[in-house]
Amino acid sequence: MASRTSSRGRNAARPRVAAASGAPSASLSRAQKLEVYYYMRLTRSLEERLVNLYRQTKVIGGLFRSLGQEADAVGSAYALDRTKGDFLSPLIRNLGSMLVQGAEPLEIIRQYMAKGDSPTRGRELNIHFGDLERGFIGQISHLGDMVPVMAGVTLSFKLRGQNRVGLVYVGDGATSTGAFHEGINFAAVQRCPLVVVVENNGYAYSTPITKQTAAAEFRDKALAYGIPGEQADGNDVLATYDVTKRAVERARRGEGVTLIELITYRRKGHAEHDNQSYVPEGEIAQWEATNDPVDRYVARLTGEDGVKPNELAELDARVQREIDAATDEAEKSPMPEPADALTGVYADPPSVEPLWYRSGVSSAVAANERPASWGTFNG
């Protein structure tokens, strides 16, 4: 029996609806469409560079890939309006979303290399970082937790009468958590201007979606929350943009939360160490051969949109130059100063006291000795 992942994959390979005229993407300019390509290519190439650095043991922790998911990450984030102060909270396979929102390759490489001048000063790993100015909030590892947090971010937009929208990404696995349920329900009741994107990439670590949920489709979960549930081909970047753009505009009009299921496929393991032994034979190869989001977008651009191959080659070259420069710069970055670890737990006090044996005191007892002349003990 074919797994649901595979059967859905085949469906996903053929978009059910061709990009209709009147679709939001129909009004994207040529320059914008090329910008979307740039971000997809940057995502893929940057991760390829990180693999090289990982193999050279320059990446300290695990490496998480989004190979095959670049369209869903970039297309959905591109639907936000950065000039209006829209916000997103990415998940581990949303490097592309963060790049769209303004994260820079240099920051990403420094994060992975645990450098002292990385966005978190070496405190957190990989793409776990954020920036309130640019409008993204770093995830934590506990899946589903960012849904309540983004409910609160968008609640603040509503309370202050701001015309801003938030987008939060979860995977198929995170939909099983209590935090996902509590957060989306809270946001739905409050009619927060929030878009919840469920990236269905077939697997949560090694667990296939058939073991994650008995629901026929993830979008069906929206019904129970009283919100619209949409679904789109996550490997078609313009379809992803369209479905998200509609949800963003709904949210901006004050019509509340939308759940979007984007169907895609995780071609690499959970992290670089994962050999994917649990994946049925041929499944990855099939997606790679027939449903690569970058290939599909290139075909679209060079076909219908009349983009010349050399224009794309120029963008590819620009991406390589930027990644090379960022790598050189990151390699020169210092590691953190050890004592920086004690700062910034609180606003007040700004720094934690060093442990006495790390602060030049020879003996805790000597430092606190009762004076010989002192005492009340008379037993």
């Binding site: 978190t120 405190r123 934590i140 590892s141 609160g152 409050q190 910034g344 006495w356 007892v365």
Partner: protein, 325 residues
């Protein structure tokens, strides 16, 4: 001036802080139209409306998570746990998300989680808890637990104004049982400072929350019956903890006992003891002794609850042993 109960002091602080700062809002279960299970938030909805007094679904994780998101954006949310026992449903949000936000991501997270805590009220295992020790172990959080109406008022103001997340435990046994005239003016009690509840020279009782009153009762009895002069230190802030005040009383009386209503193993008393042995061991004339609840879930029936929780007679008995050591 009229006397204000502990509960009214909390409510008054909420009103004043919501008046003072439009970024302050409250959210929790049944806190709006109903005014909260104990009526702490009574009247807030009428004055501030549904946008600043939010009745939420039964979702403690979402309450805290949404508060965190709003706090990142510059709001000052005050979350109510209907009973503090339910804070465990938000444990992940508090320990993994909220407590780490500033450190790992430089995200400000100025929120307050408050709720009715503690026993002596026949509430049984799930309406009587003192979960402070579960959070004492979490860098990034602050924890306060007032015992007087003035401190309830002043510490809530401090908690709301603090730039970091604060857990504010309020003792439901004290809600309507104690009252006093509140200090006038903008009375803000600094977080991290203990309060000397009674001066003495023979031995020290270090405690907080409802057992402050039991310690004071015991001190009276010990003075009358044994001629002992007992000092009582009310910690009122557990995180950060006022080491200076703790060591000052240790160095003054040289005999110390720690009293708390929470269970014994892994409780706050163990932490206080460790700090004293590291910072003032040579000043001790006797071992540090603990009076706490027994290590059991808190039972409902009065004879059982009374047996498990620390009573004034327990404090008196242990104090006598300490004095005689």
């Amino acid at each position: 001036m009229a006397e204000t109960t502990y509960l009214e002091a909390i409510r008054q602080a909420l009103f004043e802080e919501m008046d003072r700062d439009p970024n302050v809002f409250v959210l929790g279960e049944d806190i709006g139209a109903y005014g909260g299970a104990f009526k702490v938030t009574d009247g807030l909805l009428a004055k501030y409306g549904e946008s600043r007094v939010i009745d939420t679904p039964i979702s403690e994780a979402a309450i805290v998570g949404a508060a965190a998101g709003a706090a990142h954006m510059g709001m000052r949310p005050v979350c109510e746990m209907q009973f503090i026992d339910f804070i465990s449903c938000a444990y992940d949000m508090l320990t993994n998300y909220v407590a780490t936000a500033r450190y790992r991501a430089f995200l400000p997270c100025p929120l307050v989680v408050r709720g009715p805590s503690g026993g002596y009220v026949r509430g049984g295992p799930f309406h009587s808890q003192n979960p402070e020790a579960a959070f004492l172990h979490t860098p990034g959080l602050k924890i306060v637990y007032p015992s007087t109406a003035s401190d309830a008022y002043g510490l809530l103001k401090a908690a709301i104004r603090d730039d970091d997340p604060v857990l504010y435990f309020e003792h439901k046994y004290l809600y309507r049982r104690i009252k006093e005239e509140l200090p006038t003016g903008d009375h803000v009690v600094p977080i991290g400072k203990a309060r000397l509840a009674r001066e003495g020279k023979d031995l020290s009782i270090i405690t907080y929350a409802a057992t402050v009153w039991k310690a004071l009762e015991a001190a009276e009895q010990l003075e009358k019956e044994d001629g002992l002069s007992v000092e009582v230190l009310d910690l009122r802030s557990l995180l950060p903890m006022d080491d200076e005040a703790i060591m000052a009383t240790v160095k003054k009386t040289n005999r110390v006992m720690i009293v708390h209503e929470d269970t014994r193993t892994g409780g706050v008393a163990g932490e206080v003891t460790a700090r004293i042995t590291e910072q003032a061991f040579a000043f001790l004339d006797a071992p540090i002794l603990r009076v706490t609840a027994a290590d059991v879930p808190l039972p409902y029936s009065p004879p059982l609850e009374d047996y498990v929780l620390p009573q004034t007679s327990d404090i008196v008995s242990v104090a006598r042993q300490l004095a005689a050591y």
